[in-house]
């Protein structure tokens, strides 16, 4: 599984807005590049990143080749209650990765 890096607080007060940063290791090959011999390098990108909290959607990014390698997204969530944040990435060639982080309300 691809290396992922999630940065978010483990604890928050109810109603607080928490900042979330999520990054994943991926080449994001655009499909527009060629090798020295002129052969096209096939596209291999992530297509979708979704963050949910207990099944409710927080943030979703539809990804195109214009997103840089090792896609990084920073966004925020409303800490309405304790819950588990699930991060999932899907892409070309059957790529799939999932990560989860628990947030406790103090």
């Amino acid at each position: 599984m691809a290396r992922t890096l999630i940065n978010m607080p483990k604890r928050a007060r109810r109603g607080e807005i928490v900042e979330i940063k999520a990054m994943i290791a991926h080449v994001m090959e655009t499909g527009y590049r060629r090798t020295e011999t002129g052969a096209a390098i096939p596209r291999d990108i992530l297509r979708l990143f979704v963050c949910t909290c207990d099944g409710e959607e927080v943030f979703r990014a539809e990804i195109h080749p214009g997103i840089a390698a090792n896609p990084y997204f920073a966004f925020s969530a409303l800490a309405a209650g304790s819950g588990t944040f699930v991060f999932s990435w899907t892409g070309d060639n059957g790529f799939a990765a999932t990560e989860s982080v628990r947030l406790e309300i103090e």
């Binding site: 990014a61 195109h64 080749p65 214009g66 997204f73």
Partner: protein
């Protein structure tokens, strides 16, 4: 090398280059087309969207982008999605960022690729059906997607 072979070879190379030039850049018209398609019958107004890009980009392969929309993210005033469009990239639509019911602020950051010096536009789609846009210029000294492997 015989002259005929040389011409055939260079012709083939020129043809490939022309094809690559086609691929390498969308036109501002295509970007406008993409914006029209997403706005549909609605109207697009300028304002409420702040797009932050470095004004001078040394490496187009990873350009930090932050987009912020002036919205309270309350039940009435919400941002549904932000569309990021780079008019001179091979594909003008770079990303669509969607905000769910548990989203905090109407803001997000990512890193994008820029093929050329250009204006990047962010269009915010609000829950009330209105569309707002903001833009930023970036001067790119080293373009993304030109180097081989």
């Amino acid at each position: 090398m015989r002259r005929r072979d040389f011409l055939a070879a260079t012709g083939a190379v020129a043809g490939t280059l022309a094809l690559r030039a086609d691929l390498a850049s969308a036109t501002p018209e295509q970007a406008q087309e993409a914006i029209r398609a997403l706005v549909g019958g609605g109207t697009l107004r300028k304002g409420r969207v702040k797009l932050d890009l470095p004004p001078l980009v040394e490496n187009g392969n990873a350009v930090p982008l932050t987009v912020t929309v002036d919205s309270a993210m309350s039940a009435m005033d919400r941002v549904r999605a932000i569309h990021v469009i780079a008019e001179k990239n091979p594909q003008p639509v770079v990303a669509v960022l969607r905000f769910g019911p548990r989203a905090g602020r109407a803001a997000a950051s990512t890193r994008i690729r820029l093929a050329d010096t250009q204006t990047v536009v962010a269009v915010a789609e609000m829950a009330d059906g209105t569309f707002w846009s903001g833009s930023a210029e970036a001067l790119v000294t080293m373009s993304a997607c030109v180097e081989g492997v």
